[in-house]
């Protein structure tokens, strides 16, 4: 890229394309544009910085992030208004004896329920998905191929259809599992198990089988191969998928909305939705949303730092860690 400031040689026009339409008289005009191409006009210089695109990107970022910053700011407002600043306070978090997140029983229960669902779902879905990925990756045949396809299908099926099927199965077939925490966890595990299954399989494909074969040649048995060779190599992928599952459950709405039954098992996203939709919105909801945001942020930071530690010495660095914990690899 260093030699690119040299004048761009004028390429002869392709005979089929521009040559056939442009009259010969345009030749002198083209010589003029040769100079203009390297002039101040930004779109004339193919190697210059695309200021227009950068400006557009910044506008997008402002549109995307400033509203949330304002919502967070007004969760600290010492008043009901969402647009007039009345001074900083923790009123909507702790101090208000009735309407704060701490003292309103529904808001308070929602925080606990979200944490409970995230922890339980991660603890079940990650081992389940990792074992599935390792097993499916080495077991050849139509059965594993079918279930691998189903696993990816469960990843792309619209959440509403998945949630409806879960709702029906828990209200008709498995009606001993009532709507509530158990149904929510079963639904969330099924919805999220595809993260570890897909992420770990992708890593297995990149690793190949050389390491395990080497370990087996050196006398390791099945369990030793898994424990001493495979799991350490898969650790970054397992960790990234745990982060994805945990934060996915914090943000989940449709499944928990359809499978919750009472205030005691309603997590934060559903409380924000139903309270706002019911016309009782207010700064306490902003406080609840800010708590959700802070929880996700903590998970992301832990995920980023943990992923960097686990992949020390690998190529990619920060960018690879970022894309891994956002599920794009």
């Amino acid at each position: 890229m260093t030699a690119t400031n040299a004048p761009v040689p004028e390429a002869p026009d392709a005979p089929g394309a521009a040559g056939s339409t442009a009259p010969p008289a345009s030749a002198p005009a083209r010589a003029g544009t040769q100079a203009a191409r390297r002039s101040w006009l930004p779109w004339r210089n193919p190697w210059g910085h695309p200021w227009f695109l950068e400006g557009f990107t910044w506008l997008y970022l402002i549109w995307s992030l400033v509203p949330i910053a304002i919502a967070v700011l007004f969760s600290f407002n010492n008043g009901r208004s969402q647009s007039t600043w009345q001074g900083f306070s923790w009123r909507w978090y702790f101090t208000d004896p009735v309407n704060s997140v701490l003292h309103n029983p529904q808001l308070h229960a929602a925080v606990i329920q979200t944490v409970r669902l995230s922890v339980l779902t991660t603890l079940i879905a990650v081992p389940l998905g990792v074992a599935f990925a390792i097993g499916i990756n080495r077991w050849r045949g139509p059965v594993p191929a079918t279930f691998n396809f189903l696993m990816i299908l469960s990843y792309v099926i619209p959440e509403l259809i998945f949630g409806v099927s879960m709702f029906f199965v828990f209200t008709t077939l498995f009606s001993t599992v009532h709507l509530g925490t158990t149904a929510e966890v079963l639904g969330l595990v099924t919805w999220n198990v595809s993260w570890p299954a897909i992420v770990v399989q992708a890593r297995l494909v990149t690793l190949g089988s050389h390491y395990e074969e080497a370990a087996a040649d050196l006398g390791a048995n099945q369990f030793q191969v898994i424990r001493r060779v495979l799991l350490p190599l898969l650790a970054p992928a397992i960790f990234a998928s745990a982060v994805l599952v945990f934060s996915g459950v914090i943000d989940d709405f449709v499944i928990v909305d359809l499978l919750s039954s009472s205030a005691g098992n309603t997590p934060m996203s559903v409380v924000i939705y139903s309270t706002q939709h019911g016309g009782n919105g207010g700064p306490a909801l902003n406080a609840l949303g800010t708590i959700m945001l802070a929880m996700s942020l903590i998970i992301v930071v832990i995920g980023y730092v943990g992923y960097r530690v686990l992949t020390r010495g690998e190529r990619g660095g920060g960018l690879a860690a970022l894309t891994a914990i956002s599920g794009e690899n």
Partner: protein, 294 residues
Amino acid sequence: MRNKKNAFYIALAVPGIIWLAVLFVVPVYAVLSIGMGKLNQMYEAPVAVWNPFSWSSSNVIDVWRDLFGSASFAGPVAARTLIYVAIAAVLSLAIGYPAAYFVARFAGRRKALFLVLLIAPFWISYMMRMLAWIDLLSTGGYVNKVLGWFGISPVNWLGGSSVAVVLGLVYGYIPYLILVLFAGLDRIDPALIEAGRDLGLGRFRTFVHVTLPLSRQAILAALLITVLPMLGDYYTNQMLSGAASTSMIGNLIQGQLGTPGLEGQGAVLSMILLLVLLVPMIYYVIATNREAAR
């Protein structure tokens, strides 16, 4: 030895297989059985019919009449859903592509910073992000305050405005689109783009003839990843409008769950939605598999 090894891996996969069979295959079949099932007249509760040979078509006929009949109620809602989602998808692509393209190609050393900012909304709860717009768009909110500086009287954005709902959909789903687009654009070998330049193409024509064709797969994947959930969305319009004039197919389905006598029709509607989306879903699965195998 070979068999023992296989048995070990089968044992690892079996828990996940059973889980998927019981809690993914069976539930989807349950929706079908309820949709093709009967109604318990006394309790107005759906009765699932598991045997395909004794399926009844009464729910399907009801839904069909609702969708396409003369006094169609669901038909306009379905049409509205398609229009909203189409506009939202096109807008998302028009906004997301330039941003993803800039960050993937030109951000240089600041790539990590831009990427963090681009995917930040991805980590922020959807409901919190809708809440932020409700604050801004409310009658006394900042949007109306700014409009007031130009002498425009306050607009009731949240009282059933299609514009608010479509913008809400764009705002809600665009981070997923950008992330997929970014990953696709980032993978394009810069040498190909430089080759286009070296052969005399300008910036615009390099984009049209080199970058755009190479990112076709990413565009398709990004559109699918946003359109699929948008078609099942029932909460964005409830948060930003709540009016029947902006309701979508997801609202119909969600409203029929738990409503005595209508659950069977909700099941049929979900199945129709699934059938319509099955082709793009399977296409997506195959395309990503091919990508992974490469």
